[in-house]
């Protein structure tokens, strides 16, 4: 009884603390600017969530540190860039339908192509180093070099400009609060991906087996489930999510370049360390913390923007080394 009351108080205190922290920047920021920054922060958080959730699930279930995730992210961006290039008429057309169609085709192409690349990577490289983190880091780092060089071979070494589908360009001015359209799209994509992942993980048997595997792989095998097939599937889904993140981020930042994965991989690792490895909800919460903090601090103290998330990560590691959420949540 007393324990449940304490737990409830603890939850209420945590929520109250989070709200206070969220509103804290209002001390130094005008409310309208605060709203614009908040939307930008949530949009950035959702994009980071797409990358981080893949890293988190792959580590949670397979115990694999996949440093090639950043390269898969870049491949997603380049596949999407190629679709946009060949269907540029639809990208720049003054038609919501054509803009949405080309965006959808780019998403499907990027996710399918990179998921298949993920299957090859898992079967050919990662499978050989299960259970050995040092080898995983070395071999996936090697795979990153190969994948990034392949991007240079296929698409060239230079930065390319990514075009925003016309419908997503520009902004809305809602009572003097500037809301960029594409940021809202990013928030919707992130929320949809989270909802679908949660639905699969919580409501389907396959998802339940994956969550069980995050807790105890050996037991899942001993219950008659082919964990290796599950590993391949999860790796493919993680790669697909990285691709979606890469495509969405390239439109966000208006460019693609071969090394783009490295920057976001660092953010993804910060996110999963804050949220908890193996937790999808943890990835979402961690990504929102990183996205919002980055935007607020970049406005208030620009020179500290890059460092503040590392500081949060260090604090979380000191207080709760396993991250905010338990694996499998």
């Amino acid at each position: 009884m007393a324990e449940s009351i304490l737990r409830r108080w603890n939850q209420e205190l945590t929520i109250a603390g989070a709200i206070v922290l969220l509103l804290l920047p209002l001390i130094g920021i005008q409310p309208k600017t605060y709203l614009t920054l908040t939307i930008a922060g949530i949009a950035m958080g959702m994009l980071l969530f797409l990358v981080a959730s893949g890293v988190s699930i792959i580590f949670g279930l397979m115990d694999v540190l996949n440093f090639a995730h950043g390269a898969l992210f870049a491949w997603g961006a380049y596949v999407g860039f190629t679709v946009f290039k060949y269907l540029m008429k639809w990208v720049v057309a003054d038609s919501v339908l054509q803009n949405l169609a080309v965006f959808f085709i780019a998403i499907v192409a990027a996710m399918v192509a990179v998921a298949l690349l993920g299957v090859v990577l898992e079967r050919v490289i990662v499978r050989r180093v299960y259970g050995n983190h040092l080898f995983q880091i070395l071999i996936t780092f090697g795979a990153t070099i190969v994948l990034v060089e392949l991007i240079r071979v296929f698409w060239g070494p230079n930065d390319e400009t990514m075009t925003v589908p016309l419908t997503f360009a520009g902004n809305w001015d809602i009572m003097d609060v500037i809301v960029y359209r594409y940021r809202v799209i990013c928030i919707v994509i992130g929320a949809m991906v989270y909802a679908v992942l949660q639905l699969i993980l919580k409501k389907t048997k396959l998802g339940t087996i994956v969550r069980a595997g995050v807790e105890d792989r050996d037991m899942v095998q001993a219950m008659g489930h082919n964990i290796y097939l599950l590993f391949t599937g999860v790796f493919a889904v993680g790669a697909g999510l990285a691709a979606l993140g890469g495509l969405a981020m390239s439109i966000f930042s208006l460019q693609v370049y071969p090394d783009m994965g490295g920057t976001y991989l660092l953010f993804a690792f910060i996110v999963v360390i804050i949220g908890g490895l193996g937790s999808v909800t943890g990835s979402l919460v961690g990504a929102l913390i990183v996205g919002l903090t980055y935007n607020y601090v970049a406005y208030l103290v620009p020179w500290a923007a890059a460092g503040v998330n590392i500081l949060i990560m260090i604090i979380i590691l000191l207080i709760r080394p396993t991250g905010l959420f338990a694996a499998g949540k």
């Binding site: 048997k205 339940t208 087996i209 969550r211 069980a212 807790e215 105890d216 050996d218 037991m219 899942v220 095998q221 001993a222 219950m223 008659g224 489930h225 082919n226 964990i227 290796y228 338990a326 694996a327 499998g328 949540k329």
Partner: protein, 245 residues
């Protein structure tokens, strides 16, 4: 079970060697499990009892020897293939998925969800009434005894012919141990059981045949009734003195 004769051997482990890292744990172990019986592997800590079960289910690879289940060699098969042949496994740490509910734990265990499984589930929940009571509760919040019940329930909800149970009495209160003994005696009616147990009371309450393991080898084997009578053997290999009994 109906087709199996009393002396039919369902599992044969022949000269099996298993390494964990550099350590040579099983050093040519041989034992078998007969139909309609509970076979108990007993021995001191580190004798290789848990390793023997993990080797049978395939979680640890054997480097030498044969494991024959229903006439088929299975030592090269992967754990999920072995489990699908009808071998259930309850590990020493119970292997409960603590973040999942009791219902979800059972669902993960069900390889096929059909009428036969539903009937077995009903039978299992009748045997372990607490699981029904806490059906929607997180498994991590169950008591030690309830977790053990859940671990066993998961292993018997499928069409299991052979059940490997590793130290089910470990850390449980005596009254719960009695409930587990009762459960194993009921499971015995449907499945062959290989039990690893250090608790002599439990081993002697449910066991039909015993194998005493010592340093990764079988030191003695026979009927449990004979072991109950042999105080010298109990003292030598199990550390049981007359005073303790």
């Amino acid at each position: 079970m109906g087709e199996q004769g009393v002396d039919e051997t369902i599992l044969e482990v022949q000269g099996v060697h298993t390494f964990i890292g550099q350590h040579h744990i099983l050093q040519g172990i041989s034992f078998d499990a007969k139909a309609d019986a509970v076979t108990v592997l007993i021995g001191r800590n580190g004798a290789g009892k848990s390793t023997a079960l993990k080797t049978v289910i395939g979680l640890l690879p054997s480097s030498k020897g044969k494991i024959i289940y229903k006439g088929k060699e299975i030592q090269k098969n992967r754990p999920f293939e072995i489990a699908r042949m009808g071998i259930g496994f309850v590990p020493e740490n119970m292997g409960i998925f603590s973040e999942l509910t009791v219902e979800e734990n059972m669902r993960v265990a069900m390889l096929v969800e059909n009428e036969a499984t539903a009937r077995r589930l009903d039978r299992t929940l009748e045997m372990f009434a607490d699981l029904k009571k806490f059906w929607k509760a997180k498994a991590g919040n169950l008591s030690g005894g309830q977790k053990q019940m859940l671990a066993i329930a998961r292993a018997i909800v499928n069409d299991t012919s052979l059940l490997l149970i590793d130290e089910p009495s470990k850390g449980l209160a005596p009254i719960i141990v009695d409930a587990v003994i009762d459960a194993i005696n009921r499971i015995k009616e449907h499945s062959v059981v290989v039990l690893v147990e250090q608790n002599f009371y439990m081993a002697s309450s449910v066991g039909d045949y015993f194998f005493i393991l010592d340093d990764g080898m079988v030191a003695h084997a026979g009927h449990v009734e004979a072991l109950i009578q042999d105080e010298a053997l109990q003292s030598k290999y199990l550390g049981i003195s007359e005073a303790e009994e």
